[in-house]
Amino acid sequence: MSRFGRARLPRGEGPWPWLAAGSVALSLLMFSGLLLLLAVRGLGHFWPAPLSLVALEDGRLLAGQVVREERLPGGAGRERLYLTANRDLDGAIWSWVAVDEIAEESHPRDLVVLERTRWGSFHGRLLALEDAAGRVEGEAAWQALQERLGELEALRRERAHLRDRVVVPLVRRLERGADAALAAELGAANARIRQLQARMGGTRLLLESVDGRRLEQPLEQVLRAWRPNAMSAPRKLAAWGHGVWRFLSEGPRAANTAGGVWPAIFGTVLMVLLMSVVVTPFGVLAGIYLNEVAHQGRFTRLVRIAVRNLAGVPSIVYGVFGLGVFVYGIGGTLDEWFFADQLPSPTFGTGGLLWASLTLALLTLPVVIVATEEGLARVPDHQREGALALGATRVEMLTRVVLPMTAPAMLTGVILAVARAAGEVAPLMLVGVAKLAPQVPVDGEFPFLHLEQKFMHLGYHIYDVAFHGGDVEAALPLVYATALLLVLVILVLNLTAIFLRHHLRARHGTVPRR
């Protein structure tokens, strides 16, 4: 061992430094392992996997993506799981194939994958494209397909825009009062939608699966087409990037087993922000009161103990409380007072964004209070006395000297609150989250923020897809991807707050140099 190494080893301290370092290493390892697992399984889903053409011993052909390989029950060899798609042709999209039975496996470049709005994906070959103008075959068909898909995408976007931004608000306004001008607008919008619909239709694809079955596929049901075995690496990378982007920006499809999670992202972030807006002032003011203003007697001590105990209450209990008090109690009363004409359909008397935010604010309130109190306690008394001795009132002393010094601690409290709330699922199930709510609670329609709407949440989405979806195997990659996303969202929220705290600390300093 070199002289340096020997000098650095802690001597005479026994195994403790190694244990400590080992614990840290283990924790880091587990965390990075988790991230790695989520990343690989989740992000890997968007990478265009090669499509294998498998010829079995008995002559059957199938085209599918390899998912995994397992030992056969009984130990007699291995079998492979292929995703063969073509639910409309085969009835199922999965195939287990014993490896021994595989005669030949190849990756023909002309194999095509089509992503469809109904019946999932298609694996096979493109024979021809037919429309009113005629029929195109072969390579030309493929080119024409790509062009048409591009046009289709634009038309779909326009239709969605009309539907979401024009028709739905108009309908809502008409519900509140008939108006000839509005009705005319609605008619025009609907007519335009029908026009678009007509333009999207009329084209057909002639498809053939690898085992020879033919299929006529209306083009308007096709979202994307690609030839995975013919794509170069940069193109695959581009496709992967697009896939990830779509995951982040689109709404869910096919009962949450396909499509994106944008509404869930939006809902999670929005709810967390609302919660922070509510909990920060209450928590900070409560902490200030307990530490600075209240007479430090038995009652204050009891309150402090109670606050700390609240932090340990299981979150589902908060959910029940929120349901009873906020949703049925206050919500029901609000409905009676302001939305009686909507009854028996509840407006605020059911779960929604507002109640979810308030419930989580309650949940994280003790955290913020405790963090604020700790921060205040760390401000030395001589700073307070110094301010008072200059003629400051109590309020001025607090606002100009104590609170700036406490700001980092208060932000820590908010960080902790955010981290906790972003991950909580159980209470949300009772007070406001929905399985499917593609409409986000913020839109262009007054009052712009719809607090009574239900919203989607990343954590709940994971739970729902993993446990309530129809085809769990198909949804699993999305579960991983959503989990990764959730971790990243929390990470970003935390980093923002940490950065802010660091900035504040640098400005106001922590402990004086003495």
Binding site: H382, E385, G391, R400, H508
Partner: protein
């Protein structure tokens, strides 16, 4: 040194009696207790204007307690009970119409350990000015410079008014604290062992500062360093166990104190 002004020393009495007109602070019958524990017992003394008065005494004798009573810092402590009166320029500081914050501006305080705020040097000095509000930047700049000059700190920090106060040395921080107290133009400056946390050179600078400030304010100094009290003060009050034992001109008290208790404390003898 002639005794200032027209004192009426009760012939040979240990407590000097000043003409009230020449006095800034008048303490009468002050008794203070923390809960059940008495800290000050029926204390009466007068602090002359524009002079340095020192309170000396062994630990726990009540000198810091007495000092803090002069700017009502005990208000922060629920357990403190107070009897007797303290008058600043004739006005009872505990009268209900007195605004405590304004009192504390008029009677400033410097503490034992320097406690500058975690702000820039400029902001520290301007803190009190900003509390008063409505001051133009130019005016504030002038006052900040004047205060730092008065505290003998200007030359050392004029190039870096924006840097954090905590980058200064201990002695400089203490002078900064004095500067920020001076900025609000107090009438009285209370100093609670202001140099006990500082090195000897800084201590001497602070003492020199105290001597120079005499012309503008009345200074009351608590110290357990007797040589400091002897060097710096004009009048010295010796307290023991919450009582005022002897109070007289510093020169006399340190060469020929009247009471043996005082003599024993000053010369380091056991009672």
């Amino acid at each position: 040194m002639s005794v200032f002004p027209s004192p009426r020393p009760a012939a040979g009495g240990p407590i000097i009696d000043f003409d009230p007109a020449a006095c800034c602070l008048e303490i009468e019958g002050l008794s203070l207790a923390y809960g059940e524990t008495p800290a000050l017992r029926d204390l009466s003394l007068r602090v002359p204007r524009h002079r340095v008065t020192a309170f000396i005494g062994p630990s726990g004798c009540g000198k810091s307690t007495l000092l803090r009573a002069l700017n009502r810092l005990h208000d922060l402590n629920d357990e403190v009970r107070l009897a007797g009166s303290i008058r600043l320029e004739g006005q009872d500081i505990h009268a209900p119409e007195v605004e405590v914050a304004e009192l504390r501006r008029r009677v400033g305080m410097v503490f034992q350990a320097p406690n500058p705020f975690p702000m820039s040097i400029y902001d520290n000095v301007a803190f009190g000015l900003r509390l008063q509000g409505g001051m133009r930047k130019r005016q504030m700049d002038d006052i900040v410079e004047w205060a730092l000059q008065s505290a003998a700190l200007w030359d050392e920090v004029k190039e870096r008014l924006g840097s954090s106060a905590w980058t200064l040395s201990g002695g400089q921080q203490q002078r900064l604290v004095i500067a920020r107290t001076l900025a609000v133009r107090p009438e009285v400056l209370l100093l609670d062992e202001p140099a006990s946390a500082l090195d000897p050179i800084s201590t001497l600078k602070i003492e020199e500062l105290i001597r120079n400030l005499k012309s503008q304010l009345t200074l009351v100094l608590v110290t357990h360093n007797m040589q400091q009290a002897a060097r710096v003060s004009d009048y010295t009050a010796f307290l023991q166990e919450g009582e005022l034992v002897e109070y007289g001109a510093t020169d006399t008290l340190f060469t020929n104190p009247r009471l043996s208790r005082t003599e024993n404390y000053i010369t380091g003898r056991m009672a």
